[in-house]
């Protein structure tokens, strides 16, 4: 199929950006979206032009590195997939496709479609862990039974890949879904109880410091999340944050 690509080009965080138009032809329906981008870059390099910079790594939907805003949607059309898992059979011959980076104050553009998501790392550093040393001298793994329901719920929250689609989707650029997924994973497990409230408080405070916006309960984040992280995580985090504030944690 033949396509017209409108791609955001930006040299660096302090440079102005612009949309540029690139025609590509001979795209196969079996290609992944990123393979189509590889094809474009191959073409640009051969023409002596600057290829489009974008982040990607595992190309199987788990590393969370790929991050394209395609036709106005994080990771493009389709639910439950990352950009790398999106295939060209989702598009039609002759279509014009708009490709932009994640847009959020807390995610400055590195170049073109690649953005800096280290704010997420700093939120995790503020409390996204259980404070236990890695000595191996802990309890036997089966010493504390965990109800299957709780373990499964914790797992579901823990499947967040930290891609930032929630932030990119939110009209306020809020990171509540991302932060609440990590808070919930630990809040649902017995091992996470000792630091439960202080963890929520520290992570929320860091989130605010990074310049993410506020949550207005629109729920678009959960719709576009490639891993289906549930909105109830946000409610859980709000409850823990409130409790932490009341207790003066």
């Amino acid at each position: 199929m033949d396509l017209t690509l409108k791609i955001w080009r930006q040299d660096g965080p302090d440079n102005p950006g612009r949309m540029e138009t690139y025609p590509v032809s001979g795209v196969s329906a079996d290609m992944s979206f990123l393979e189509m981008m590889d094809m474009l870059n191959d073409q640009l390099i051969r023409e002596g032009k600057d290829p489009v910079a974008f982040d990607h790594d595992c190309r199987e939907g788990i590393c969370g590195m790929c991050s394209m805003f395609i036709n106005g949607e994080a990771h493009g059309p389709g639910r439950g997939v990352t950009t790398c898992q999106l295939h060209m059979r989702s598009f039609q011959d002759g279509e014009t496709i708009y490709i932009e980076p994640w847009r959020a104050a807390a995610f400055p553009v590195v170049k073109d479609l690649a953005v800096d998501r280290s704010a997420f790392d700093r939120v995790i550093q503020a409390g996204g862990y259980i404070s236990v040393n890695t000595s191996g001298e802990t309890l036997d793994a089966n010493a504390i039974p965990v109800p299957k329901e709780d373990a499964d719920a914790a797992f579901n929250a823990a499947t967040c890949i930290g891609c930032g689609a929630c932030v990119a989707t939110c009209k306020n650029s809020s990171a509540m879904l991302f932060v609440s997924a990590k808070v919930s994973q630990f809040a649902l497990l017995p091992q996470g109880q000792p630091e439960r409230l202080s963890r929520a408080k520290r992570m929320v405070e860091q989130m605010d410091k990074e310049g993410f916006g506020n949550c207005t309960n629109t729920g678009a984040c959960a719709v576009e999340c490639p891993k289906g992280i549930d909105l109830s995580n946000i409610a859980r985090m709000n409850r823990d944050y409130l409790a932490a504030t009341l207790k003066g944690e």
Binding site: D57, C58, K111, D121, Y129, T138, A141, A154, F155
Partner: protein
Amino acid sequence: MSTLDSKIPKGPLADKWKNHKNAIRLVNPANKRSIDVIVVGTGLAGSSAAASLAEMGYNVKAFCFQDSPRRAHSIAAQGGINAAKNYQNDGDSVHRLFYDTVKGGDYRSREANVYRLAEVSTSIIDQCVAQGVPFAREYGGLLDNRSFGGVQVSRTFYAKGQTGQQLLLGAYSALSRQISKGKVQMFNRHEMMDVVVVDGKCRGIIARNLVTGALERHAAHAVVLASGGYGNVFFLSTNAMGSNVSAAWKAHRKGAHFANPSFTQIHPTCIPVSGHHQSKLTLMSESLRNDGRIWVPKKKEDVEAIRKGTKRPVEIPEEDRDYYLERRYPAFGNLVPRDVASRAAKERCDAGFGVNETGEAVFLDYASAIERYGKTEAHVRGLKNPSDEEVRGLGKEVVKAKYGNLFDMYKQITADNPYETPMKIYPAVHYTMGGLWVDYNLMTSVPGLYAAGEANFSDHGANRLGASALMQGLADGYFVLPYTIGDYLADDIRTGPISSDLPEFEEAEKQVGDRIAHLINNAGDTPVDDFHRRLGRIMWDNCGMARNEQGLRQAIADIQALREEFYKKVRVPGKAEGFNPELDKAGRVADFLELGELMCKDALDRNESCGGHFREEYQTPEGEALRDDENYTFVSAWKYNGMPSEAELVKEDLVYENIELKQRSYK
């Protein structure tokens, strides 16, 4: 020919690690604060090592080329992690895990290392649970297990098909905790360009900031490489796009021996190649072989009909199907080790029974598992005389709960629904058993330079068992390296900070800069990927699932010619400064072009078949790998001598005191 000292502690196998830990030197907490350690790579081995060393008190600098340490490729491991917990009471033990791993590795791994690995495996599970890793559990609240290839017990712990993700996020959270304390300084989007050796000891690295392009000098008392494997030398593999050999290869060029480079794991269950545009291959977890049955049609006319689309696989009657793994290996059936399963698929496809257009695919069928689970579920729910449709519906629910994300991934990539029609799969490059040679302490042949996880060669011999990579990465990082590195660093308590102004740093930085300038200024016209793809084809055809002398000799000549062409014709766009992913890639492919040749040289030198290394000249009448224990029970460690073709073989003899070497049989 010189030989290598593996520094295996004396004494009975089961006491070696305990005695060694008791005997090695320690560094007191105050002195640790004045010692710096660099960790390259933040996968399971790197993150766990960086976190553990920082907890102990060392000053750690950690580096990853991705935009966050959480994205290292360990994240993509699907199936699970082995541990000799024997929670299932099915006869498992440390000794059995040790035995299975040595046998699975076709008797080409080091006994003492493997035993230690099995020994610490149980602590890994305890540790991960304490960190909040949400492993799968049974209704009683205890941990669930499943089976993997090459074993007859259920010792694999898992978190759906995302075990690597959950373990890595556990290690990442431990690492993040140390970053917040200032004990680890984290360098995202940084690539190691070279190691710096001062007076015979590794004292730091040259790194490149991938955002600005600036070269940086980082000095330390010791350096740990946890930079992963080199499967991407094949271009198409299940590795992430950025996975590369460069850190290990630079260390090799600075004196670290590279061990068993030709030992590559070709994983039997991957989604087949769909066309020239393909950039990577996707694994379908080995856990699928717990319940799935692998087959091809018995009749050529059925093969033709399926390829043409005139017959659907479900229309082939049971008696016309060849469940070739069950036929050839009745004792292990579909759960034979990876190398055996891959070769068997190749054998059927080479014989003309491949089931897709390219003739390179076999079926992985869930129909009987869906029916079996459906019947059980109907019984549990007390349904009387359920219809076939009801049974299948219930069965699909069970399969979905176990493997849902894998089935979804398959559907997304192929547009086929695996609940209704068998999946098509074919072997693909997945893991590299070879890597930097290390002694029992995980130190390479350069003092002060350590290698952990897939980057080293030590534990898997010629073939790795499923769910053992995660185990090894975390064992090295959490429980081995933190002890053994102290023995070396004990000499450094009075050294003081290492200066990065030393001439060795200056020289290394200059060499790196020159190399980058050469690539960026080259007046070529061909993109990097073009060369990478061609290298991959040479490697896959000649140094893949089957190798022979003639092919390997040809491959060596072809790679040399390709390398020459690369330096003449490659075009790297942009500048050395600023964010330039094509430049990053060019440097990595340049190193693959050297490594590929060494792999072929190693494969040519080893005149036997073992594990993933299958030389067509050396096979049993039944087509199984034929080892030559008399002449090849050693590790081939290669010493760099200016060019891959000049590499010198240094042997480490493997001594088996506790296991009898046998022809591996899964029949």
